[in-house]
């Protein structure tokens, strides 16, 4: 973290960052039955405000029937530096795709 704070490219002194509203990630479900999809983020002081502003910012064109928000700092993400180690080994394992089976016609959309 100390490395991030000292990075001049962040362009924001630490005390100013403390004044900012926290960041929230926004997930919108377009129709009942579909899943919530990540669509962006916003700043809000607390959860009720985040829900309202998510509604205002991300569902203006009938995109949504339900909204989720979650504090960005509550999301645990994989480290980009681990990308090679984590994901490259799967490149040559096509047998993990279920593409070698004949599906019955009745089973659509698999």
């Amino acid at each position: 973290m100390s490395e991030l704070k000292s990075n001049p490219m962040r362009g924001q002194p630490a005390d100013e960052a403390a004044d900012e509203w926290p960041l929230w990630e926004v997930f919108v479900r377009s129709r009942s039955g579909l899943d919530h999809k990540h669509c962006g983020s916003l700043h809000a002081a607390d959860a009720p405000m985040a829900i309202q502003l998510a509604r205002d910012v991300y569902t203006r064109r009938q995109e949504g029937s339900s909204v989720w928000v979650v504090r960005s700092d509550q999301i645990v993400a994989s480290d980009p530096a681990d990308k090679d180690m984590y994901f490259d080994p799967m490149e040559d394992k096509v047998y993990r795709h279920p593409t070698f089976y004949q599906l019955p016609k009745e089973v659509d959309h698999m």
């Binding site: 809000a44 502003l53 205002d56 910012v57």
Partner: protein
């Protein structure tokens, strides 16, 4: 050549609908002034959304007012080509976005909360209007007003129950605004006639439920309920504050200078 003004036949039913239409139109125009100037980007979009909802409501109402008038005036002519005295909005919505300086956020959210509560109560009753068109407009608008009320009331509580500075600004806003609220609850021949033929409620009938909701909101926001005011603004009869002409200059310029201009 500049577009000439239109004259509006002020039958009571036309006036009743025009009062609502103009109150929504002018508040929408005032909120539009926030576009690009709100304290944070997210709220900028929220305020613009509310403004657009109000202008949408106004368009539907102006169209209906034109039909009731029966002189083929459409929404654009009614919005852009009337003289100041023919606008029938309550004065509270034409006040600038702050008593001492434009861009007063506390003033804006408090006025929005007062007006959204009033509109919501009115729309709820207008769903039962004897005029099917007005009832249909109300059915759609009541959902919008409910959200406007939630969003602006939340801000009133945040500011009132926030820091010393935010509470001070909210109290100043209340001092400036409260006396203009009284006009929203006086009845006259126009709304008495509307109540008699089922077009819509008397404005006076909204007073008690509105005060009850304001009291609840102010309690939560740690605001003292102000005393009743003897002052009466008169915008709904066409007699406006000194601010109205400036709004109309903004609102009307294009249609006056380029009659029928569209894009």
């Amino acid at each position: 050549m500049a577009a000439p003004s239109i004259q509006v036949e002020q039958a009571p039913s036309v006036q009743y609908v025009l009062r609502l239409a103009d109150t929504a139109l002018i508040l929408g125009q005032r909120l539009g002034e926030w576009c690009g100037h709100a304290p944070v980007l997210e709220e900028d979009i929220a305020l613009a959304n509310i403004a657009l909802d109000l202008i949408g409501q106004s368009r539907a109402l102006l169209t209906r007012a034109g039909q009731l008038e029966g002189k083929d005036h459409d929404e654009d002519q009614l919005a852009f080509l009337r003289e100041e005295r023919d606008y029938r909005n309550a004065t509270i919505v034409e006040l600038p976005n702050g008593p001492s300086r434009p861009g007063d956020f506390a003033f804006t959210v408090l006025r929005n909360a007062m007006m959204a509560t009033w509109f919501r109560l009115l729309w709820e009753r207008l769903r039962e209007s004897s005029d099917a068109e007005l009832a249909a407009i109300a059915g759609k608008a009541v959902k919008e007003a409910r959200y406007h009320q939630q969003h602006s009331s939340d801000w009133v509580v945040r500011l009132g129950d926030g820091t010393d500075e935010s509470a001070r600004r909210l109290r100043a806003a209340l001092d400036a605004l409260w006396r203009y609220g009284a006009e929203l609850f006086d009845s006259d021949a126009v709304d008495v006639a509307a109540a008699a033929n089922g077009l819509g409620p008397r404005w006076a009938d909204l007073r008690e439920p509105w005060l009850a909701e304001m009291r609840e909101l102010f309690d939560e926001a740690k605001l003292a309920m102000p005393a009743d005011s003897a002052f009466r603004s008169t915008g709904k009869t066409g007699v406006h504050s000194e601010h109205m002409g400036y709004i109309l200059a903004d609102l009307q310029f294009l249609q006056r200078a380029y009659p029928g201009g569209a894009w």
